[in-house]
């Protein structure tokens, strides 16, 4: 998929497909984000979403991530501190997804 903001890398060897997001995720583009997540999850029982380069995300993104985690094993890569990690702990998404932190 050739989307500048949400990039999907196909599964490789034992690794699940990876969705790499960047910039802001909010109501304006959350549908695109969901589409990419669903495409990634369609052929795989696990996906990884890399949010390391996401500058801002809100409730819309959290909802999209919960929705995809309902059907797929979800791995998240996030900065160890900052607003995204805070959002994950407030929502409890960190308790149902496998979270890897990156400094």
């Amino acid at each position: 998929m050739t989307n500048s903001q949400f990039r999907l890398s196909a599964a490789e060897a034992e690794q699940p497909p990876v969705v790499t997001a960047s910039g802001d995720i909010d109501l304006a583009n959350v549908n695109e984000f969901s589409d990419v997540l669903n495409t990634a999850a369609a052929d795989s029982d696990a996906i990884t979403v890399d949010l390391s380069d996401v500058s801002y995300c809100d409730s819309a993104a959290v909802r999209a991530l919960f929705a995809v985690a309902a059907t797929t094993k979800l791995g998240l890569i996030v900065p160890a501190t900052g607003p995204i990690m805070t959002l994950l702990s407030i929502s409890g998404l960190d308790r149902v997804a496998m979270v890897t932190t990156r400094d």
Binding site: D58, S59, V62, R63, F66, A67, A69, A70, T71, L74, L87, S89, I90, S91, G92, L93, R95, V96, A97
Partner: protein
Amino acid sequence: MALMHRILERMQSDLLDALGLAITVHDKRHDERPSVIAALGVGSDFVDAQLSGIGGPLPDALAYQVPVLSLDLWTDDRWPELTLAAIRDRAPQHESSWEQVHGAAAVPGVWADEATVVVCCTLSQPASASTVASLINYEQLVSAALITTAAENASAIADIITVLQSRGAIEQAKGALMGLVRCDAERAWAILRRASQEFNVKLRELAVALVEHISGAPAEQPDTGTPITPDDRTREAAGLMWAALSEAPLPQ
């Protein structure tokens, strides 16, 4: 708000582990506490307990406007004061349910400027991402229903407040009947409903009149809106009903 109850019943058939479900509305334009507009099981008492200051998924969903999930409520480090002991103190009538509670989830939505709705559930199993995904779908349905109701009938929201006001009194009246006639809540509700039909008075006014008749004190009513004041005919009906039930032999 029969529609909201139907939505909750559908949720219950989807969430088989649910011990409680509730739809809570908070309108920030009025400086009021959030109100439960429909609930099943322990839903309403669980919302009230969380709002009493011990915290929980619902206040967090309201404050941060994100879905909130918990695998095990009583041990969740986000709400150290939300413990089995604390909830027992606040709602001892659900003792056996509280012991079964594990997970919970709350999903917020905005249905008007400054007005938030939260759909939440408590489960006998840990909540999962599927629980949240399911609540997200229902939150959209609830928000759509609220928007439609508000658009069609401006007084509909005022009606919600009236229903809320009557609920305290109806519960009190049911409790009194259960004690007097020694019956369960369902039978008490049937007696109350039947009396309201026979005397041709509004059920909520009859409940208020009955509570006032028994206690000699005003019935429990929230501070919001206009209090329910039964007329003389309703008061008389309540008195007759109470006298008749007091004299009747215990039903077998």
